[in-house]
Amino acid sequence: METLTHILNGFSVCLQPINLWYTFVGVFLGTIIGVLPGIGPSAGIALLIPVTYGMNPTSALIMMAGIYYGTKYGGSTTAILINTPGEAASVMTAIDGYQMAKKGRGGAALAISAVGSFIAGTLGVVGLTLFAVPLTSMALKFGPAEYFMLMFFAMTAVSTLAGKSPAKAMISTILGLMISTIGIDLQSGQPRYTMGVPELQDGVGFVIAVVGLFAISEVFTQMEDMTKGVRPEIIKLEGKLWFTRDEWNRSVMPIMRGGIIGFIIGVLPGAGGTIASIMSYVWEKRLSKHPEQFGEGAIEGVAGPEAANNSDTAGALVPLLTLGIPGGGATAVMLGAFIMYGIQPGPMLFQNRPDLVWGLVDSMYIGNIMLLILNLPLIGLFVRLLYIPGGILMPLIMGISTIGLYGINGNPVELYIGLLFGILGYIFRKVDIPVAPMVLSLVLGGMMEQSFRQAMTISGANPKIFVGSAICLVLLALSVLSVALPFLLPRLKAWREGSDAAA
């Protein structure tokens, strides 16, 4: 009953004009970031962190969450009109969405993805509202050993599910952890790996790393494409921006199923929106009476995956808010933002700051309504963004990154560190090492070491504490399972490769 009061009070927080405004700014920026191929939610949120310094944390977090789920709406537009996902999770939307656009049904594809996103996004927030409280009561039983194992699970899951090669993702994860050990050790006061650079005593700022790894490296990649003369063709949007009754009937069930898949995948660490939309696509193709239409412009292939990658965002916020542990790149950046405001998400937050938690969750209901409006009648405005030449857009992203890097501490050395991370990220992309695991471990690294050492102190340096409770054992089993999963699902992988080649 108390929870219900908190949930309702959350609406009074998020309906305050100032928070409504920041919800709007968040989803608006999110749509823009989603439409623009190049920057995704992680970079978008990271770039905004310096701007939000003076704001009250509730408004800032509402805005960041808005960017996160807003990008998913925007990403589909780019996927449908230029066959390039505006945001990684809309890969699957591109397959049939682009075919629909070529056949003159682009308006229907855009409309169904906006409506599907709305329904699934709202479904996801309902799920978040329902599941958050039971999970927090479980999380209260977590000690340092359990937290260590939970982070261990999050990292193995991200490593094995984030890219093609688990080994490379694992390398990325561990390098991130190593970078997080740079700086003064909090328990002993000893400087570690600072190489005599005073700026490194506080450690590598994670905003710096994220801006470099996600934004600057993407600019490099796109600039390289530009020098190669790769330029996608934009399909002009024609016809009515709505779907027929028949198209709607074909889409309803895929949207519902996609919404459920997306939420479940979102709650689990590692997989994320891309996997959710792939699973939805595979599922819809299996269930369809006309699987041969998939790849040729089947509306189910747009509706399902789009729904999945939108409810995924709400699902991904479940572990972030209830346990304080993110399961992917964008939520890792959000955790970093929480920490910068001095807020530790987790079960205690639900007890101490119900206004913040529920204000944030409830703002997502409103944000989704705003997004529906932004992405249907106003979609034409956002489509224009696609006509901005890359030669202007990429330099501007570099400019915004500079503000993000400099604005944190006003320290020029951090600019160069950011640039180095940009170059590192570019090389990683080239050689197929995923960067998301590195960002996750950068954010979690410090916490992971602390809980490791606390647990060892409790047990008197006996590592058995990490298998000493049922929760630990379950988490260990899940970690092992997540390593084994890629081998259990080779068929899915083979299928995905096939569809990638066809795209």
């Binding site: 701007v51 003076g54 390039t84 591109a94 984030a162 890219g163 093609k164 688990p166 490379k168 694992m170 390398i171 994860t173 561990i174 390098l175 190593m178 050990t181 050790d185 328990q187 002993s188 000893q190 400087p191 570690r192 790996y193 490099f220 600039m223 390289e224 020098t227 790769v230 891309t274 030449p389 890359g390 030669g391 202007i392 330099p395 501007l396 570099m398 400019g399 503000i403 400099y406 604005g407 006003g410 020029p412 160069y416 640039l419 940009g422 170059i423 570019y426 992309r429 080239k430 050689v431 197929d432 090492i433 070491e449 490791f452 050492r453 060892m456 102190t457 008197g460 340096a461 080649a501």
Partner: protein
């Protein structure tokens, strides 16, 4: 991360000579070097074991060992791939020097911009930096480029200073 595979269509003859295997080998060697350097740097941390039984070196040692394990995993993956002789996925043309030279120039130019940021100030330095980049990547559109560079630099300065973000004013009086 699954990136769109637009570029992979343009494979050339060179790319078929297992460049990925080559790349993986380089990654493997680099990983081993990083692990070695990290182990060495760990020995340099002064040890004053107070309070907790592990001290500041234990977790790093664990990380070093994990990195070696990950390198071992990579080796296994490479070995498995060679055995099954799976068709190499499309190889990015990694060694295209012309493109790399452009990117290196961008990186250097960005570093120059950062170096001048505090003396020249955000607005002036950014306008010059952006204009030069646009002149190269958006060739021929002088007016549009100049306008965007100047308007963006000025506009973002005003906006962010209003938002209390600290940006250097440099040579400009305001």
């Amino acid at each position: 991360m699954f990136r769109p595979r637009v570029r992979d269509n343009e494979k050339d003859a060179l790319a078929e000579e297992h460049p990925l295997v080559m790349v993986d080998r380089i990654i493997l060697v680099c990983t081993l070097i990083v692990a070695a350097v990290y182990f060495y740097a760990t020995t340099l941390i002064p040890s004053l074991e107070i309070g907790d039984p592990l001290g500041p070196k234990a977790f790093p040692r664990l990380l070093g060992i994990s990195l070696l394990l990950a390198a071992g995993m990579l080796f296994l993956e490479m070995w498995k791939d060679r055995k099954t002789a799976a068709p190499q996925p499309a190889a990015p043309d990694l060694w295209d020097l012309a493109h790399l030279r452009v990117l290196a120039a961008v990186a250097v130019w960005t570093a120059v911009y950062y170096a001048g940021l505090e003396t020249l100030g955000y607005v002036v330095a950014s306008a010059i930096y952006l204009f030069a980049l646009m002149a190269w990547f958006n060739r021929g559109k002088w007016v549009a480029n100049a306008l965007t560079a100047v308007l963006y630099s000025g506009g973002s300065y005003i906006l962010f200073v209003k938002l209390d973000v600290n940006l250097p004013k440099g040579v400009l009086p305001f």
